[in-house]
């Protein structure tokens, strides 16, 4: 039940790494690498290169995203950067600019 939350008033400038789910409601700049899922919520602003298993984005992300499993761009999200993952979902209403690469050999 490990759960990490970066609250909405928090600003992190640097690297975040870990083996558990991470929920971002605040601001993160730098780099994020997780072996689990990342949730970028609506209030969040992320300027970072992201390496995770899964990522679900409702907020704003600037940076390259590489997921070993899935990237999900929800409605109202704003993403600028390249996305690389075997599964990429872009919902209606999502804003996205960048390259998509699903040609990742997984499983």
């Amino acid at each position: 039940m490990a759960n990490t939350v970066i609250g909405s008033s928090i600003t992190i400038d640097g690297e975040i790494s870990g083996d558990e789910d991470l929920v971002i409601q605040g601001t993160v700049k730098g780099k994020i690498s997780l072996k689990e899922s990342l949730f970028v919520e609506a209030s969040a602003s992320v300027e970072a290169d992201i390496e995770v298993q899964n990522v679900e984005i409702t907020g704003k992300v600037t940076g390259n995203i590489a997921a070993t499993d899935k990237v999900e761009l929800k409605a109202d999200c704003r993403v600028v950067g390249d996305v690389r993952a075997p599964r990429i979902l872009i919902a209606d209403g999502a804003s996205f600019k960048g390259n998509v690469d699903m040609d990742v050999k997984e499983r």
Partner: protein, 215 residues
């Protein structure tokens, strides 16, 4: 401890989970609970809670800090710093209120700032007692004064080397010493006159007097 907290209220507090490592600058306006690792710089306008599994290697600026885990670095708090039983810390603490509980481990300096009107009469009195200051001073200072005054004065007055040093201090020192000496040792009474005499006459007068004595 707080592991059973509901995450439904996560909007108002931040939690760094046990397997998370954050390396860099972290700042914010809400409570922060660290169960993992934070390295770099940490500044909050509210409370930092370092849980037993938490490790913070950072310079920390917060309002309150409650440390049950490990902190390596300096903490500057505007209100209070508390080291709990499980807390371990190496670094300096700068905070008006510092609480170190029995069982806590700490190495570093503590600065509670200038004595405030309220704490000065209450808290510092309790805390300063165990501190080594009064203990250290009393054994050194107490024997030093009586021994030094009794032993040092008699030889100083007749000795020639003291002459050049005295002239500047003598006018002030002479009257102060005079009442002390007769009470402790009456035998030294004849001694006091010599120092004032050379002072009034000047260095030249002293040298002449000393030379005469030697001859």
């Amino acid at each position: 401890m707080a592991a059973t907290k509901d995450f439904s209220t996560t909007g108002e507090s931040t939690i760094i989970g046990p397997s998370i490592l954050i390396n860099g600058k972290l700042s914010g306006d809400e409570d922060l609970t660290v169960r993992g690792r934070v390295e770099g710089e940490l500044s909050l306008t509210k409370t930092l809670i370092v849980e037993p599994s938490g490790i913070v290697k950072a310079n920390v600026q917060v309002r309150n800090a409650i440390i049950s885990g490990v902190v390596v670095g300096n903490i500057s708090a505007t209100e209070s710093v508390e080291l709990t039983r499980e807390g371990r810390m190496v670094g300096d603490i700068n905070s008006p209120r510092v609480i170190i509980v029995d069982g806590a481990s700490f190495r570093g300096r503590v600065d509670m700032g200038n004595a405030e009107p309220r704490p000065a009469s209450e808290r510092p009195a309790q805390r300063q007692a165990p501190v080594s200051r009064p203990v250290v001073r009393s054994p050194i200072a107490a024997p030093a004064r009586p021994v030094a005054t009794v032993v040092a004065r008699p030889p100083v007055k007749p000795q020639p080397p003291a002459a050049p040093v005295i002239p500047s201090k003598a006018p002030v020192a002479a009257p102060a010493k005079a009442p002390v000496i007769p009470s402790k040792a009456e035998a030294n009474k004849p001694a006091p006159p010599p120092p004032p005499q050379p002072v009034l006459v000047g260095e030249a007068g002293k040298k002449k007097v000393l030379l005469k004595k030697k001859k």
